[in-house]
Symmetry: C2
């Protein structure tokens, strides 16, 4: 695992997670609380502000990864955190709208270690709550009168379009070996990278930066998404459910595109042949999943995945280096990228 | 029923349904076809462009009511249909996004006389397809560079917020007699009127009209929504499924807020007492629904509903009269309002 050493950079953190939390969470909370009461309750539950009985938890859930990226990128282009506060909140709303629907679609019963919204409130209301967060996110962005309003609104709408395209492709594409990896990249660029790109590019749009800066930031977000998603796929198979907050091996149980499995299937060995049989079968018992995990590792899928994730992280940082950000913000983003991919946040 | 006589107005129709269809449908079709292929297919099916096997139907479904209102209102404020072509298409996309999700939520198996999208493609993909239409609608509006772009984007986002609030309220509120009618009005103003207001007000925003014109158009849309929804509730109970395209008495079977029933429950008679028992029971057999329909009519619920629908149509036309539109467009909208409420379109 690539754990960049950030302790020795001499960097005085511009943005502790606490800072992002105190800047962005109040906006998220206030926006959500203004929704119709039932929708407000479901969204507040999903976001971790209240428990299933409606009692305050004293916390907000999630790592606010996208808000942290946007806030750090804002510093990098000479803006203050307040200049993109609404957009950072809106991006978290947008991300969470997709999670609420995703859990219904995947029939995932757990989200961040708690029952998913649809398990608590039913699928019908959870569909509306996801819709409401999606609409609210775009409303916040559209209503913000600051510079770059139109460009930022377009970036948000386009990011959402891509996420939905990626989710649909993920549900419908049957990934085999070989061709599967190009398709996998495309799905990840849509469903995972698009919001990270949006996070990084929004402050540059607000600051009126030229196209080569926007392109560098988009490239950084694209590779960050790939590095993160591949690492996430590794975690799904071999990670600790206490860290991921989700049942182990959900992706391979559902035969969702999983990079280590695709890499292992491409290996063209007796081991990968046996894995292929299981993957195209319908076994979802723990023993089946365990055998698939073991075969994937034996066929080199885990090693390839970890190596490629590191490679994409490197590419993300290369693109970041071309975005002409302030050195302090670059260091901050470098540390953030590493935390995102390696889940040390 | 209030059937306004439009044949004798001497009005040379500015906008036949055919004109709206030829202006707006190509934009809708083109936007939807650019979606990710699976989502494009589901949305094209829902919109009636293709059948469930993917073959072209040679038609587009729906009456494009909202697009027709917007196009007529554009003429009324001195714009050409092309000036709001994208917005008219976007409003139809938005409306249809809510229908796709609504059918899942209500478990409605029929839409416009055909199997609902979720019945054909499954709920998971239909959730994403609804999301995609919602996102696409806002993207079209946000990306249109014409005058009033920001205000129109805000109007769309706000309209969607209201529709979702109304849908949530409809699912969660237990309507009883008395207080129920105020709550009913609120739900309808949100879930039905909001998009009609958006249709009428968008051209005025584009043309930079003053606040009193906007307020008159919003008032017209609000009352039009109430007139339409109450008339629709009457149709649900006593209408012809061949006209509505939906099974008869779906609303009362699900105990959805239905104005004639609420009015009958308020009557405070032995008949309404028996109706109350049935309404709070869980019977959904055809004989139960027939008895509820008969009791509703006997207690005066149908009469009250039909009278109130006419009253709201009158109020809508009064507001329209204050919007300072061109006489030809006013006449056109008057005819449209009547067709919408009385389903003679």
């Amino acid at each position: 695992m690539s754990t960049l050493d950030t302790s020795s950079t001499g960097l005085q953190a511009l943005l502790s997670p606490r800072t992002v939390r105190s800047t962005v969470l109040p906006v998220v909370r206030q926006q959500v609380s203004a929704l119709e009461p039932t929708l407000a309750r479901i969204c507040s539950y999903h976001l971790g502000f209240i428990d299933e009985h409606g009692d305050p938890t004293g916390a907000g859930s999630g790592k606010l990864t996208r808000a942290a990226l946007m806030t750090a990128a804002a510093e990098g282009v000479g803006l203050r955190p307040e200049d993109v506060q609404s957009q950072a909140a809106a991006l978290e709303l947008l991300h969470n709208s997709t999670l609420i629907h995703d859990d219904i679609i995947d029939a995932d019963e757990l989200r961040r270690g708690r029952p998913a919204a649809w398990k608590v409130f039913g699928a019908s209301l959870a569909i509306l709550a996801g819709d409401a967060l999606q609409a609210l996110s775009l409303q916040v962005v559209v209503d913000d009168p600051g510079p770059g309003r139109a460009e930022i609104s377009s970036a948000f709408a386009e990011a959402l379009r891509l996420v939905l395209a990626g989710q649909s492709r993920e549900l419908t594409v049957r990934l085999g070996p070989g061709a599967g990896i190009a398709e996998y990249d495309r799905i990840v660029e849509e469903k995972t990278s698009a919001l990270l790109e949006c996070a990084l590019v929004t402050p540059a749009l607000r600051a009126g930066k030229p196209e080569h800066v926007l392109a560098a930031l988009r490239g950084a977000g694209r590779h960050l998404g790939l590095a993160f998603q591949i690492s996430n796929d590794v975690e799904d198979i071999w990670g600790d459910p206490a860290v991921t907050g989700k049942p182990v091996r959900g992706d391979i149980g559902r035969r969702n595109p999983s990079f280590p499995v695709l890499a292992a299937l491409s290996a063209d060995s007796p081991v990968s042949e046996r894995l292929r049989e299981l993957w195209h079968g319908d076994g979802t018992a723990a023993a089946h999943l365990q055998e698939m995990a073991d075969l994937t590792e034996e066929a080199g899928g885990r090693h390839t995945a970890e190596k490629l994730s590191r490679g994409h992280l490197g590419s993300a940082l290369e693109h970041l280096g071309r975005a002409e950000l302030s050195p302090a913000a670059s260091a901050e983003l470098t540390a953030l990228f590493d935390r995102i991919v390696n889940r040390t946040a």
